[in-house]
Symmetry: C2
Subunit: 299 residues, 2 copies
């Protein structure tokens, strides 16, 4: 088994246990629980938990329960955002990760509440995680900033308003930095904070996350143009159908690949710089980034 | 001016400033900000902040900035819940506090996001409020528990599933304890915690809040039957139109009044007991409860 496969098997299982057990413990309504677990269990790459845990590992720190709980919280935030994003009032998506979307399965009312529940329980779990109070409170602040009206929700709002318009590169970057970038940045910087790194290191992690987030978003846009529905587990060509601004639509496919490659190179450059300080085991994070961006580079 | 009017003028203004300033500072998207402020500015009774602040005052403690911030956070949670509750996918309400509902004004997509933004920013504001870290973290935990899938969201979920069914008293009480009761309980117990009261006092506040929450909910159900749209600022007869279970529908109007009166008496009984310990200035809370329940008692 590869390094990454072994790591996923050992550590993602723990993150999933934290999510499921907490939701089961905290939820008094059975249908609400089913609806939340449906989207949690639908899987996905668990990218944000992986980035968080791979960052901690890079600093040669042992992974403890409190860290799994932070990873679980950020994945719950991500999952809620997908449920709300798929709603008829938003993107009106029918398929997600190869399965009917939450509202197709449970109705739009329950899906709205499942999203609200996951969002709230993410803060609940984080606030009672096994961490020192000051660090815990700092992570609550950071997660709220990343996912609220300065971060992810602001990105979604700009995205909703951008439908049908062709945006300029700057506006598109604004949206992606918030929609995808903010939670990536939370995950990677939280890894640094949990590994007790000093401010300058956390700042460098933030720059790394910015580049990686953009690379990932361009890759996502490219896949929507070039992959099949089967490969993606969601309907392709959807961005075009919604008249959404994408990198390929704005820059063309070739130029988008170039920009993607540049952001990827900048990401790796940050990892090298970190290696000069305290990031002594970058292999796992590098393998993860390779895996993440493989499909896009293969085109 | 009455005691309560003076108190509102002085202290609610501060809570509103905390909400508005924080949202303005934190929100990068202009339409999202407008949509969130639209519902915040639509007013309402600010019941949860008032209960919180009146409880602190009852313990003869001075109100400081951190307490306004906690009050602002709970009001933001309440406001998000109204926005989502009014959505077409939920109750599909057109009118709230005499104004078009958020989704009528901004569309269902933006209203969903305004709710998500308010919910997230509530935890953001609370987590960076001017309080000792341990108390702050405890309040984040309590607010999340009260508003998540153990509390308010669970109540909403049960409510959605109950449409069209006539519930038994026990099921209806379950729903109300969560939909309304949980945030009332948070507000009143947070008042006790902020006033540095010991556990036994906070436990008694929790019992008080349970009775008050039920009294308030029965009153709300009664008003939907007996008041006019003009008096309420929202459409009356709406519960019946949605085939929602209400106390008057289950018990009849007279028996509902009796139950309401019993819960109100139990609330006052708790205040008396608290007075024997450290709740030396109950007048403000009592006046607030009088005002709250006046319309129902007048029928």
């Amino acid at each position: 088994m590869s390094l990454l496969t072994t790591f996923k098997k050992e550590h993602l299982t723990q993150v999933e246990i934290e999510m499921r057990n907490f939701l089961r413990q905290q939820t008094t309504d059975e249908t609400l629980l089913k609806s939340m677990l449906y989207s949690i269990d639908a899987g996905g790459k668990r990218l944000r938990p992986l980035l968080l845990l791979a960052t901690i590992t890079g600093f040669e720190k042992e992974i403890k329960r409190g860290m799994y709980q932070v990873a679980a919280a950020v994945e719950m935030i991500h999952t809620y955002s997908l449920i709300h994003d798929d709603l008829p009032a938003m993107d009106d998506d029918q398929l997600r990760r190869g399965l009917p979307t939450n509202h197709v399965k449970f109705g739009a009312g329950m899906a709205t509440l499942a999203g609200d529940g996951l969002l709230t329980e993410a803060f609940h779990l984080l606030s009672q995680s096994e961490l020192d109070s000051d660090l815990c409170l700092l992570l609550v602040q950071n997660l709220a900033k990343a996912s609220g009206s300065f971060g992810m929700v602001a990105g979604q709002a700009a995205d909703v308003q951008a439908e049908g318009k062709q945006l300029q590169l700057q506006e598109m970057t604004y949206i992606h930095q918030r929609k995808t970038g903010a939670l990536f940045t939370f995950a990677i910087t939280a890894g640094g904070l949990l590994a007790q790194q000093e401010e300058s290191v956390v700042d460098l992690l933030q720059i790394l996350a910015g580049h990686l987030g953009l690379a990932f978003q361009i890759r996502d846009d490219l896949l929507d143009v070039t992959a099949t529905t089967e490969q993606l587990g969601k309907n392709v060509g959807h961005d075009a159908a919604l008249n959404k601004s994408t990198y390929p639509a704005l820059l063309g496919v070739d130029k988008s690949y170039q920009l993607f490659a540049a952001e990827l190179a900048a990401t790796k450059n940050c990892i090298e710089k970190l290696g000069e300080v305290s990031f002594a085991k970058p292999d796992l994070l590098l393998t993860l980034i390779e895996e993440l961006t493989l499909e896009a580079r293969e085109k």
